[in-house]
Symmetry: C2
Subunit: 462 residues, 2 copies
């Protein structure tokens, strides 16, 4: 089978068999069949269990052999000792794609390592490809398909996820702001991150792929695939196990040999992958690539109500290798006209004195419009107020940012301060292309990563 | 007047006069009298305006001299050319405390610098103390008092704020999670950060003081006062203007001479002040000191549902100088009994396999109870699920964390992953002493700062 055929079996199966599914269903039972039904999966579902007659309203067979039709994908969660035999039964049934969800294999103990090997031998004999073990499997919201026994929201953001741990599946809202397609490679005994990157990296529905890795193996293949993908869409990686203790723990978690972090780092860099430092940054950068136009340079314009906020941004730009844009006279003159004569204007563009005279709406619209037009400005960070609803309506700034960012060809990021910042941030998300962000430093860090990606594309000739 | 008398006039005035208040009131008018009334201020309010007869339902006088009683504090927001004369009129009326809110002084241009000097001369002649100019003034929720023309929530968290910019007043929810008392020193032409630190540092209602500084002046005095305060309660500082461009901008924002950042750094260190790197960290550390018991060591125990999350924590501990605790056998044995035999246990304590067998409630309660008892554990980070309401109720983990953290004598921080993380975080805040936090790396960084503070107190013999 080629990569595309394998991808289809795992991510868009026409039929799926669950072997070893829990007997209980309903809230708290962690039954993957519940989730699959609630997602409206259109394919066929077969259940295999040695004792039950019916689970979650579906008929149950004693053995995969009894499934009344062909099976694209089998999800195996039987006790670890039985798994090699179950793989053999799958092969006899003609199943070519198997997900093994259980823990207790090479990440656990010697017996687990033996079983993982036996399972692989069975798979090789029967030409079965395995994802896992120690995985939640796959999820493809576009196909209404998930193998996860943890409940997930069906959402369709243009975000792909490849990870070595279920925490990223369940926590995709926290880590990424949601995912459309996810592959948990778990112990990666057969199919691995390189395969998953081929599956996701060319999907036209995705704008960005997020990667959680405890180890990067098959370095050469990884670089080759990564380069092709990152020429198309950005790949953002959180590589963990960078500390000695973290690397040791990775060995008992996913059986990973985290190895030298600096080697993994070099491999990712060669592949054009953006490596982030922590999970807040992962969230911000993924959201940036989902929502913002490209950042074609490193010069940032700032529209601010607060001198102190501008200073915080200048500090952050210095730390992250961005520079304050130097707006031309046509940009500044209209704001200077609205400002008191004693007010020195520049970038950050402090519009507070102007709006105390002429009102928020007029001044904010003018300032943002002029900054967007200035060819010396590659991205704009806006500082704006988030007051309680009655006061906020008077400001009108959410609507201005929504309207002007809609047509913008450069990133617009907004940081809100005030008692209702979370609410106002969610209002901004409802329309336009501006991205609201919880802190000024994070706004700058995100833009630096977006600039890094455009520079990579330029350098690599994509 | 001594520092305590000055503090009373500014933070607990029995009467306040607004000179140059806006004529309009109601939403959008930014009239400080509206805010003061809505806060239920019990003292007397006098208004001065050259033309109006009534503002916000209160009678208006043409001149401060006409105020029918003595005035503890005057808030001046007249055009900058008039301010020196108004200060003289305040002095004649016997007012000893004045807040000058306007911009356009030493931070702006030469004329502004002259006016600031003239204002100070008048103040010296009349024994008037000035806060500002270029400030929102003060706010003391415990006294129902605020001079801010920007609307603020009246809340009474045990958090003091000293800043050089109104953005921290209005954004106190974003920067600190709210403030009880705030002092915006603005240009600090007379009263400055050292004075404000004396006012707030010994207030029995405060558990922590946050500091935003663009410059640290009066270094010796600052260190002396800071040492006394930090022996009592922690002071957490965000010092900005650390980059060359940021320092230049500070000069035109608050008239600050930011000077060498490393000198300010040394001054803060000598005073036992905790300097944070960005505004997310400011928020986390302030919240930590408000809510958590002291961190008396650097050994962290982890209760986790996710091996990957544990690895992320180990990486972060390595980066921040904390170490994983080494739990004793009494701590691990009861969890080992509940786990499959192949599961190697340690710290991070991965309870996932155990709870798949015995349920979330039993295993989570046991694990957290044992970690809390272990004398080799100085703080605990919990990783927990945040599912949708129907599933979450089955977990019962919020209630367990609330109950066990209530009596805990060490910090408990919880990181939630799942679709409803923000909601579940707010549930945890409702009871107990655990602090929910948005990312694992931030949990570790916060604990490192708390350990740093206890070490400072130990070293300085407080």
């Amino acid at each position: 089978m080629n990569s595309d055929q394998i991808r289809s079996l795992f991510l868009e199966p026409r039929s799926v068999a669950f072997i070893g599914v829990p007997r209980k269903s309903g809230p708290g039972s962690l039954n993957p069949v519940d989730h699959l039904k609630s997602w409206g999966y259109q394919g066929e579902i077969f259940l295999v269990h040695p004792h039950a007659k019916e689970i979650a309203g579906l008929p149950v067979r004693k053995n995969i052999a009894e499934a009344p039709a062909s099976v694209d994908l089998a999800v195996v969660s039987t006790p670890r000792e039985t798994v090699p035999q179950v793989i053999g039964e799958c092969a006899s049934k003609g199943v070519s794609a198997v997900i093994v969800t259980n823990q207790g294999f090479s990440e656990a103990d010697t017996r687990g390592a033996e079983l993982q090997k036996a399972m692989l031998d069975e798979a090789a004999r029967g030409r079965v490809r395995i994802l896992g073990p120690n995985t939640l499997g796959v999820t493809n919201a576009f196909h209404g398909f998930t193998t996860s026994f943890m409940p997930l929201n069906r959402e369709e953001p243009p975000v792909g996820l490849i990870c070595q741990s279920g925490v990223f599946f369940v926590g995709s809202a926290v880590f990424l702001g949601g995912m459309g397609i996810g592959v948990d490679v778990g112990n990666a005994c057969d199919l691995d991150m390189v395969d998953a990157l081929e599956w996701l990296g060319f999907d036209p529905r995705l704008k960005v792929v997020a990667l959680h890795a405890e180890e990067i193996s098959r370095g050469r293949d990884f670089i080759e695939v990564a380069r092709k993908v990152t020429g198309r869409i950005p790949v953002v990686a959180l590589k963990t196990g960078r500390s000695p203790a973290g690397a040791r723990a990775a060995a008992t978690h996913s059986g990973s040999m985290a190895g030298e972090d600096r080697i993994a780092d070099a491999v990712m860099r060669s592949g054009g992958i953006i490596r982030v430092n922590d999970s807040d940054e992962l969230l911000d950068v993924v959201q940036g690539f989902v929502r913002l136009p490209p950042m074609r340079g490193r010069r940032v314009g700032v529209v601010t109500l607060s001198g102190a906020g501008g200073i915080m941004l200048l500090d952050a730009m210095h730390a992250w290798g961005l520079s304050p844009a130097d707006p031309n006279n046509q940009t500044l003159a209209p704001i200077q006209e609205l400002s008191p004569p004693w007010m020195p204007l520049g970038n950050p563009l402090d519009i507070w004195p102007a709006l105390m005279k002429h009102g928020m709406k007029r001044v904010y619209r003018k300032a943002l419009t002029e900054m967007l037009k200035d060819p010396g400005v590659d991205a704009i960070i806006c500082i704006a107020l988030a007051l309680r609803a009655a006061e906020q309506a008077h400001l009108g700034v959410v609507e201005i940012i929504q309207e002007l960012s809609e047509k913008a060809n450069k990133p617009v990021i907004v940081w809100f301060y005030g008692p209702d910042a979370p609410l106002v941030r969610s209002q901004v998300m409802a329309q336009g292309r501006a991205l609201p962000i919880p802190s000024l430093e994070r706004a700058v860090r995100l833009l630096a990563r977006m600039a890094q990606y455009e520079e990579w594309k330029e350098r690599s000739g994509s």
